[in-house]
């Protein structure tokens, strides 16, 4: 065997969106505010995934203003409506749709007033990027003017929305049930190089194709995929929390090894859109699903490269070397027996 051996592996995956085997729900409030800005309030948002920006984009789109004009008030059980938790790949789906519905209600209030003022049908109004116009006419005004007019007519354009995902529990005997109403699928291909002298595995390329329903922010989705892939890579190759009789042995980052910039492959994300028919936005999610196929894709690639199957994670250099040695001993014994 040569010192450096390359190979490729693939793994597919699936995942459910929002809380499992239960009815999931979230709520939000919206107000079109002075100056054509907006306030959106909801119970849970950012844990780093970029949901604040996604919500601002959704609100901007629904209200016809710009994302930077949206102020999000959030994350306070005494000041904002319940939106449950930040997890379960539910933020875009649950909170995103709640915000969209709240904004639609606020917009409908505003449109009703402007339509009455212009004496047109409210259905003819469209707003985008701070401008409001009535289709088929030359009537137009800024959203700042529209809010001002609406308020002078005595109406504050507010809205509330909530979104429900109808999962069902599992039958305790045979597990049957409909745990989620939206599913996503993903496939990743990994290309690795195995150093047969040190046992070190490098992941050189990774292609990640994921259905996200509908892309709200392409870079944000890529960022989730890249982060998920590298967490998956860490679990595949190096991370290992260990205890000895219950005592943590890997108690700091010197002992608990994490991937660094030097371990990262080139990652190519391919975003597939299979829209969710049961929600206003059609978007699903990506946070968790991104890392599901990474480890098996890498492990399958190691097999492709050097012909050993690692069944126990992580595939540390020691484990890979031992597997190669075992394979070589097996082959030598077989060759001898054949003689």
């Amino acid at each position: 065997m040569q010192r450096r051996m390359r190979g490729r592996g693939v793994a597919a995956s699936w995942y459910g969106i929002a809380r499992t085997a239960t009815v999931d729900r979230a709520g939000a409030w919206a107000e079109l505010d002075d100056g054509g800005t907006a306030k959106v309030v909801t119970g849970v948002t950012e844990i780093g995934e970029g949901i604040l920006t996604v919500l601002a984009q959704i609100a901007a789109e629904e209200l016809g203003i710009r994302p930077e004009d949206v102020t999000i008030g959030d994350n306070d059980t005494a000041r904002s409506p319940e939106a449950a938790h930040a997890g379960a790949t539910r933020q875009t789906y649950m909170i995103g749709n709640s915000v969209a519905l709240a904004c639609r209600e606020a917009r409908a209030r505003l449109f009703a007033e402007i339509a009455a003022h212009w004496e047109v049908d409210a259905g003819a109004l469209v707003a985008f990027d701070g401008e409001l116009r009535a289709q088929g006419t030359n009537l137009a005004m800024t959203m700042a003017e529209a809010v001002d007019l609406c308020k002078r007519r005595g109406v504050v354009p507010v809205g509330a929305g909530h979104f429900t995902a109808h999962g069902t529990g599992l039958n305790p005997e045979d597990g049957s049930g409909a745990p989620w109403q939206a599913y996503v699928f993903g496939t990743q291909v990994a290309e690795v190089e195995v150093d047969t002298v040190t046992g070190e595995v490098q992941v050189l390329g990774l292609w990640a194709a994921h259905d996200v329903g509908r892309v709200i922010n392409p870079r944000g989705v890529e960022g989730q995929i890249e982060g998920g892939v590298v967490q998956g890579l860490g679990q595949a190759l190096m991370e290992d929390y260990q205890t000895a009789n219950g005592h943590p042995v890997t108690h700091g980052f010197a002992k608990y090894i994490l991937p660094t910039a030097l371990d990262v492959p080139e990652i190519t994300s391919i975003l597939v859109e299979d829209r969710d028919p049961l929600s206003p936005l059609g978007a699903k999610g990506i946070g968790e699903p991104a890392l599901v196929p990474t480890a098996p894709a890498i492990i399958n690639a190691i097999h492709d490269a050097v012909g050993v199957r690692i069944r126990s994670l992580p595939a540390t250099p020691e484990k890979v070397l031992a597997a190669i040695a075992e394979k070589q001993a097996r082959e030598a014994a077989a060759a001898k027996a054949a003689e």
Binding site: G48, L170, G175, T187, A209, R219, H251, F253, E266
Partner: protein, 625 residues
């Protein structure tokens, strides 16, 4: 505390303080000067979140005693750009979406600034190498490296500054690369995480943790600690006024150990004091008498008859068993041409969010007990804490501070209860910031799993039956184990339509560090086994890995493992997309690597050889193989 007159230039301003010369430069910047953009991710020189410039050199301020910075010129992330402005590197981070939770980002921006100052012509490989001492848990580094390269090109004049400007919107904000609205606050270090927040009259908490994996608490004597000057209060389980118990599914975990400890690192008592050092000193004065109990450290042992019992309510040590049955597996295996039997295991994994747990609690003017913390589930935490404190729901308030990485690890209410109790006992704001070691020992991990797998297939690669059994170590408390087992079971056999299934997932109690929620919630452990099986089967049957997956994949109208009828299934589309993008060369997975023609093309990087990387001449722009 010995004090010394410390003088230095910080961000271009002369600074003079009488302070402890033994403290770390990191503490001096954060506590004395309120420059909280410099973060503490590890306190041991291993993560880079605390990076600052000292006399122009990038240093880890957690490793430097402040006395060594006497007379030096210090630059922190706050000093990079004028207030309200961004440097090119910060704009580049904003543009590429390089900040996610943001906790590593000030350190990353500092390391990147150092690259641009010291090696403005650095190649991508050199950038990665120079940034290699900075850990990010969120981004996968790709967009960070992209940002550094972009800023490099602007700074060296290879690209116009216009590349740093936002993209103009087309006809919709949906699908548009709107730059992250929170990025400016993260790249400048302005965003305040819980551990950066201070309140007037705030006390500091330290937690006494169990040195035993399983032991009865015979007695706790806090009198000496309570009598210490500077101590505001000591709390134990005895201070809990309501029903003590929290957990995502079963409320089996007390705010602090009650009667016995079940894992090393479990909270036993806590002290609030004038400063953290006093609080830590007071911990040493708390006397706890333990009586060792036999421990359980292997999930298989937990199921043996006569095994020690960890929770009285669960005499069999079972946290949760989820069964799924579909079709007739006997018939399925009988119809198989090939039956594969394998076993797989996955390890316990640390979330390693760069922001250690932190929080502040106070009682407000309306007697509302308020907890500010990076909690991923303020809704549920409020419910549970109201019960623990025996207060009406509207007298408990949770505010979610910016989360410096969660990944499921901040769904468990492992410290907020202590903060609330101390705030109620002292009527002062109380802050707690975990050390990295504390975070690792006390927080939940990804469930380690053992899977035994039996798969039957026809010669043409159709799966006829699967028997899937997974045993997981739930550790000392239930936390999210129930949900993790449920999700693992539902997703176990992958995106394939399989007529005959028999699935069991089980989590058991042991005296190991608890397992809990972690990104994928059991989904990756289960599907690691399934996707390994698919390739093993493909090899045995001489099928291409994509082909065997296609022959079994779910479609619109398929019945899932839980017998849900799917109205759509995009698995065919993602398989095709990955196959095409990677220019996959078809063939059975029989150690084909050496013969493949699709390796090393677009979408791959050059391998790096350890050592050679470090011998690169500074001016080299070549990739080093």
């Amino acid at each position: 505390m010995p004090e010394m007159k410390l003088e230095m230039q910080v961000n271009g301003r002369k600074v003079m303080r009488l302070a402890d010369p033994g403290q770390r430069l990191l503490d001096f910047l954060r506590d004395e000067l309120n420059l909280t953009g410099t973060k503490e991710g590890c306190g041991a020189g291993e993560c880079g979140t605390c990076s600052v410039f000292v006399d122009g050199k990038l240093v880890k301020s957690c490793l430097m005693p402040v006395a060594k910075a006497q007379g030096a010129e210090i630059q922190t992330v706050e000093g990079l750009a004028k207030p309200g402005e961004l440097e090119a590197i910060q704009k580049a981070f904003h543009k590429t979406g390089a900040s996610q939770c943001g906790y590593c980002i000030p350190g990353m921006v500092m390391a990147a600034t150092s690259v641009l100052r010291e090696a403005p012509e650095a190649s991508l490989d050199e950038i990665k190498e120079r940034m290699g001492g900075n850990i990010c848990r969120c981004t996968g580094y790709s967009k960070i490296i992209e940002a550094v390269a972009l800023a490099r090109d602007v700074v060296t004049g290879r690209a116009s500054p216009a590349v740093l400007e936002p993209e103009t919107v087309g006809e919709s904000y949906i699908g548009h690369n709107v730059r992250r609205l929170d990025a400016p606050s993260k790249v400048t270090g302005r965003l305040k995480y819980a551990g950066d927040m201070v309140m007037p009259d705030m006390a500091h908490m330290a937690v006494l943790r169990s040195p035993h994996a399983h032991a009865e608490i015979v007695s706790i004597d806090t009198s000496e600690a309570e009598a210490m000057a500077g101590v505001a209060c000591v709390i134990t389980a005895a201070d809990v006024p309501g029903t003590d118990g929290f957990g995502v599914f079963v409320h089996d975990q007390p705010v602090m150990a009650r009667g016995k400890v079940r894992h090393v690192g479990e909270a036993v008592a806590a002290v609030a004091a004038e400063d953290a050092a006093t609080a830590r000193r007071a911990l040493t004065k708390i006397k706890v008498e333990y009586r060792d109990l036999p421990g359980l450290f292997d999930p298989e042992d937990a199921l043996k008859p006569g095994a020690p019992v960890i929770h009285d309510y669960a005499p069999d040590n079972m946290v949760k068993h989820i069964p799924i049955r579909k079709g007739d597996i006997e018939a399925g295996f009988a119809a198989a041409d090939l039956i594969l039997e394998e076993a797989f295991s996955t390890q316990q994994v640390e979330h390693a969010y760069l922001e250690p747990e932190a929080g502040i609690a106070y009682v407000d003017h309306d007697d509302v007990v308020t907890v500010i913390s990076p909690s991923q589930n303020i809704t549920h935490h409020r419910h549970m804490l109201a019960g623990i404190l025996a207060l009406p729901i509207n007298k408990v308030r949770f505010i979610m501070s910016p989360v410096g990485g969660g990944f499921g690890g901040k769904e468990d209410m492992i410290y907020q209860g202590m903060l609330a109790l101390a705030a109620m006992k002292t009527h002062r704001p109380v802050r707690l910031v975990f050390t990295r070691e504390e975070s690792i020992a006390a927080s939940a991990k990804r469930h380690p799993s053992r899977v035994t797998y039996r798969m039957g297939l026809t010669r043409d690669g159709r799966i006829t039956a699967i028997r899937f059994e997974m045993l997981s170590d739930g550790g000392a408390y239930g936390m999210s184990s129930e949900g993790v087992m449920r999700k693992a079971a539902i997703l176990s056999c992958g995106p394939y339509e399989i007529e005959n299934l028999w699935i069991d997932t089980r989590a058991v109690y042991t005296n190991n560090t608890p397992s809990g929620a972690f990104r994928t919630f059991g989904g990756m452990q289960a599907q690691f086994a399934t996707e390994s099986m698919m390739d093993i089967a493909a090899e045995r049957l001489g099928l291409d890995p994509f082909e065997i997956r296609r022959r079994n994949m779910m479609r619109a109208g398929s019945l899932t493992h839980t017998q849900q009828r799917l109205t759509s299934a995009s698995i065919d589309r993602v398989l095709e997309a990955a196959e095409q993008a990677s220019r996959w060369e078809p063939g059975a997975p029989t150690m084909r690597g050496p013969m493949r023609g699709d390796l090393g093309g677009p979408g791959t990087r050059a391998p790096c050889t350890l050592g050679a990387r470090f011998e690169t001449p500074k001016d080299s722009k070549e990739r080093v193989a």
